[in-house]
């Protein structure tokens, strides 16, 4: 994911379900179409919930990668 320019990133490590998802939803609400958002989560539930929400809301999951023992989700706001 090195070639993607992140517009906004949020470190939601230490917050539990639904914290990281709510953080992503808050960011999507505040972002412009086309912005690339990153959320770092250490909550196991996020691995299922974040991609499922991105699919339901019809945004784009550009990737997810290990980040210091947590997971960094990279999402593009598509509409």
């Amino acid at each position: 994911m090195e070639n993607v320019e992140i517009t906004k990133e949020s470190d939601a490590r230490g917050s539990f379900c639904p914290g990281p998802l709510m953080e992503l939803i808050r960011m999507v609400r505040d972002a412009e179409v086309g912005d690339v958002l990153a959320v770092i989560s250490s909550d196991a539930g996020s691995q299922k919930d974040l991609p499922a929400w991105v699919a339901k809301a019809k945004h784009e999951l550009l990737g997810q990668e290990d980040f210091e023992g947590a997971v960094r989700f990279i999402i593009k706001k598509s509409h």
Binding site: L21, D49, K56
Partner: protein, 379 residues
């Protein structure tokens, strides 16, 4: 003599004030409760008002009657917290100084935070709104009903589910179930945020033919077209929309450095100390602790704060029991005179028993016993 100020005459504020009054001698501290309202509301009763099972007028008592007589009560709205100078400033300009401060100002439903919700939606989270919904349900003859959670966080997390179950029972008894289509919505990917509660609630919703719409984060209500629209792009048509609005903390906390932009006080989840302060604590709905905003939360938090203040005042060591372990206990009313109980803390998620009649009648009894047991800090 030290001044202890408690802001809020609701569940949390009354409990802390009464616990302190029980344990402290009158020459050790002056205890004052500042409350914006003269009345204390038993909010859980509002769940039943729309179905005419409770009368909203019987769910309030004067705060004064719930406080021990050595506690001073000041009716007034706090408009500013000047923690640098250990003062709170009231709406009328009066200044009150404190040595110890407890913030128990609860949470406020804010329909205005979602475009169109005030015009297009109803709820039962205030005395006035629960009564208005009662009037609407008196006239209700069937149609599309959408019931849901309009934003997180909100207080009494199970109340929207309970309302859905009671509503289904209500229209069934009215003989208009076949003329009514019910949809329950929730912002997450499940019908509730605690998996064991969702596992009990979801099959009941399905059994009663209630549609489920998850990942529904309410974005806008088009009141003229009667449409509720989610951030995820789902549009639901409705004849009656019952949506719990997103909540905020008290206005004087919104953006204060002790709280976040929405007014949730940054609270240590074990000591319940607010921010970096040495002499301010918070309990009940106003904290940012990610557990249920419920009266029972305030009930289990109250003794921790009272012990902290007493230990500090007397120069004593804090005991091992001066920690809040995240205990919450709530009933889950499932309709048709059955209920279950949800009991958990930070380390143990709830394990629910199948809904039964005994729990329902316990809840009914608790609704009456509340006044004698809880705000008075009897238990």
């Amino acid at each position: 003599m030290k001044n202890i100020i408690i802001i809020g005459g609701g569940t949390g504020g009354c409990i802390v004030a009464n616990l302190l009054a029980k344990k402290l001698d009158s020459d050790e501290a002056k205890i004052t409760v500042i409350s914006a309202s003269e009345q204390h509301h038993y909010q859980p009763g509002w769940l039943y008002v729309p179905f005419a099972r409770e009368d909203a007028r019987s769910l309030t008592r004067p705060v004064r009657d719930l406080l021990k007589k050595q506690i001073n009560l000041l009716i007034g709205k706090v408009e500013k917290l000047d923690d640098g100078n250990h003062q709170v400033i009231l709406e009328n300009g009066d200044t009150v100084s404190y040595d110890y401060l407890v913030i128990a100002t609860g949470s406020i439903p804010c329909p205005e935070d979602i475009p169109g919700l005030s015009e297009g939606g109803n709820h039962f989270y205030t005395e006035k709104d629960s009564f208005e919904l009662y009037q609407i349900l008196q006239e209700f003859r069937g149609g599309k009903v959408v019931i849901g959670v309009g934003g997180l966080p909100y207080k009494c997390p199970v109340a929207p589910l309970e309302f859905t179950f009671l509503f289904e029972e209500f229209i069934n008894e009215k003989g208009i179930r076949d003329k009514t289509d019910i949809t329950y919505t929730f912002p997450l990917n499940a019908v509730f945020n605690i998996p064991s509660v969702a596992e009990v609630a979801e099959p009941i919703l399905q059994e009663r033919n209630i549609n489920i719409e998850t990942f529904f984060n309410l974005e806008e209500v088009k009141a003229d077209e009667k449409k509720a629209i989610s951030l995820e792009g789902t549009e639901l048509d409705y004849d009656l929309l019952i949506m719990i609005p997103p909540h905020r903390g008290a206005p004087f906390l919104q953006g204060h450095e002790i709280a976040d932009a929405k007014g949730w006080v940054k609270t240590n989840k074990q000591s319940l100390r607010a921010g970096d302060s040495k002499n301010i604590w918070a309990l009940g709905d106003t904290t940012d602790i990610p557990i249920s905003k419920a009266g029972s939360t305030a009930h289990f938090e109250g003794p921790v704060i009272a012990k902290h203040i007493i230990a500090d005042l007397r120069g004593e060591e804090l005991g091992e029991d001066c920690v809040y372990e995240g205990h919450v206990m709530c009933f889950l009313e499932t309709g048709y005179s059955k209920a279950s109980i949800i009991d958990f803390d930070y380390s143990a998620p709830p394990v629910l028993k199948a809904p039964n009649a005994l729990m329902h009648y316990q809840k009914m009894a608790f609704n009456k016993a509340y006044w004698y047991l809880i705000p008075t800090a009897t238990i």
